[in-house]
């Protein structure tokens, strides 16, 4: 319920009973007044024809009937007028007169409730023994009263509305100001003129907002520092790691015997692992940091080629056969290059890592079948490695989760790999599907919208 409605309802709830009370009080006064007039008429009344008695049954149009009339009756309640044309004696008064000499009651008339009183005259005042005096309300009196009361209620409501209007408008202005100040760009205080509770509310809000803003700025500054730190550390580690990888690569080609060669391959796997941790760390810090995704058109085919090239040394060191197929034309997707590369990289990385010597990994990028409603791409990374329990598949893409038996053969970093794939996919509007491959292994599938780019000249 809005404040305005509540105010109206409250006003009505107060004004209507008040009006009713006023009405009742006025009615009482009116009846008392009528009774007094009647009593006066009776005191001076006589059995003669009612001085104010009706001259005709139907008064001329527009003429007012006399409000007060006096009628004489015989003991037998028969009109004592010479023409005998007095109104019938009211039955309720007749019953009362049996026990007393004076009786009064309400008189229902078309104009509203009137008043009537009958008195038994002292004996010997022939030709009448009973006088009936009655008084009707002034025509239109009731309507006037009702209109008057209605006007009172209306005026009260109007007064309340006028009184509350500016305050309500101020509250509305305040809430508009608060709403627009929640946008981050808006950094000015809310100013409200005047000196009332609304102004107080505005200043309390400003105070709260300043505190929240200060706190937020601190958090943001801390986060920025942390992100910078991650970025700088990534940079500082990336360079020596590249040197290390180059050394290892050279060693691998010149390894004298099987044992040395096996050791070099182990070292290569570790180096690759460090590299992927580093990339995942910065990818996660970017996904978490609320940094807007920098999605631009890029060629997914070239990206897949690049990712597969990066993982060939790991595959070779692990004794896994890594192959890929990409279409001859570029597949253009809208994505953040670094995140997309990391997402695809993690799928390939997993497929090699959770495999065994002699195993296979296949990376196939294709246009989606023409039957699909939207033209897009399908990227499948399949392996014949250890696979994942069917029950574990749904949680696989959540952070910090590593498959129980199979995929925790080694402590796999922060278990970020597939979570990053999943989060990046969500950010780009892609779908990630993980299912068991037959007979063993995992099949990961990424699907999303793409456009066919014209072949480069």
């Amino acid at each position: 319920m809005t404040l305005r409605t509540r105010l109206m309802v409250t006003t009505l709830a107060v004004a209507v009973p008040l009006a009713a009370g006023l009405f009742l009080f006025a009615e009482r006064t009116r009846i008392a007044d009528m009774q007094a007039s009647i009593d006066r008429a009776l005191e001076t009344g006589s059995c003669g024809p009612g001085s104010e008695g009706p001259r005709s049954r139907v008064p001329p149009r527009g003429a007012q009937r006399a409000p007060l009339e006096v009628h004489p009756y015989t003991d037998g309640f028969v009109s004592a007028r010479p023409d005998g044309r007095g109104p019938e004696f009211p039955s309720e008064l007749r019953a009362q007169l049996a026990t007393t000499d004076r009786a009064s009651s309400a008189w229902t008339t078309p104009e509203g409730r009137g008043r009537q009183t009958a008195v038994r005259l002292s004996a010997g005042s022939a030709p009448c023994q009973i006088l009936l005096a009655r008084m009707r309300p002034r025509p239109g009196e009731l309507r006037e009263r009702m209109v008057g009361l209605g006007a009172i209620v209306f005026v009260v409501m109007l007064a309340v509305t006028i009184a509350a209007g500016p305050t309500l408008a101020r509250i509305r202005r305040l809430s508009d100001a608060v709403r627009s100040s929640t946008s981050r760009a808006q950094n000015t205080d809310i100013t409200m003129s005047g000196n009332d509770e609304v102004t107080g509310l505005a200043s309390a809000f400003n105070q709260a907002r300043r505190q929240v803003r200060t706190h937020l700025d601190e958090v943001e500054a801390r986060e920025r520092t942390l992100r910078e730190f991650v970025a700088n550390t990534t940079h500082d580690v990336a360079v020596p790691l590249t040197v290390l990888q180059t050394h290892l690569s050279a060693l691998e080609q010149t390894a004298a015997d099987d044992e040395v060669s096996a050791r070099v391959r182990d070292a290569m796997r570790e180096a690759h692992y460090m590299g992927s941790l580093l990339r995942n760390l910065s990818a996660a810090s970017r996904l978490d940091g609320g940094v807007p995704i920098d999605a631009r058109p890029l060629d997914l085919a070239a990206l897949v080629e690049r990712v597969v090239a990066r993982h060939q040394p790991l595959a070779r060191a692990s004794g896994v056969d890594l192959n890929m197929a990409i279409p001859s034309v570029p597949i253009v997707v809208h994505a953040d290059a670094t995140l997309a590369e990391q997402a695809v990289g993690n799928l390939v990385d997993n497929a090699i890592r959770y495999n065994h010597p002699g195993g296979h990994v296949a990376v196939v990028l294709d246009h989606s079948p023409p039957s699909d409603p939207v033209s897009g791409f399908v990227l499948r990374v399949s392996d014949d490695g250890v696979g994942v329990e069917a029950a574990e598949l749904p949680q696989l893409a959540t952070r910090r989760f590593r498959g129980g038996a199979a995929r925790s053969r080694r402590p796999d970093g922060q278990g970020l790999g597939l979570a990053i794939v999943s989060e990046a996919a969500t950010a780009f509007g892609w779908q990630l599907l993980l299912k068991a491959n037959t007979p063993t292994g995992l099949l990961a599938e990424l699907r999303g919208p793409s456009t066919k780019a014209p072949t480069k000249p």
Binding site: T234, H235, G275, T338
Partner: protein, 226 residues
Amino acid sequence: MVTPRILLVEDDHALGTQVQQALTTAGCSVIWVTRADDAQAEPLDGLDLILLDLMLPGGHGFDVLRHVRGQQHQVPVLVLSARSETTDKVRALELGADDYLTKPFWPEELLARVRARLRRPSLSQAPGTLTLGPMTVRVDARLVLVDDYPVDLTRVEFDLLVALARRQGAAVSRSSLVTQALDPDRDGDERTLDVHVSRLRKKLGIAGTMVSTVWGVGYRLQEPAR
């Protein structure tokens, strides 16, 4: 082939040494500078590729890039970025870089990108005729010769061979082969692909061994290593 000349701009000494060595081993001649201003002083003519680090003393990698492109020089530039920020790469590509590589990288990753860049301008082989080992495929004439003897292939087998030969050395996915060679109404789908390929191998005789099955992908046609 003439020895490709590569300008390497990298301030890290250990990394520069390694990269230079890897490139030299791969048959390239490398000019190595460690500062951005030195790189801008290098003459661009006769260069086949620039490998450019971004965080450099004496300027930024972007300055070098601007300098190169400002001279309307078309030498390919491969950016070596250690920042995992996308904006750096996007910026580099906008300024005219052709490709980028994020550290840490493996030397063979680098060599693959370098080769891809050096190879790009010259796609020499005429599309009409494809030659692989003992086999010659004349696409327009729909003719296959193995050791100069024609081989009789069906329409599907020939289209399969062309699809593989056009991308020799690379694996071609099953779905891609089906799209290129199989008419779904007459020739069936992926399940019949293997039958067609095995017939093709048989008919090609000694050249048939060049067609290999690639696990999870499809098939590859590759010239035997000499």
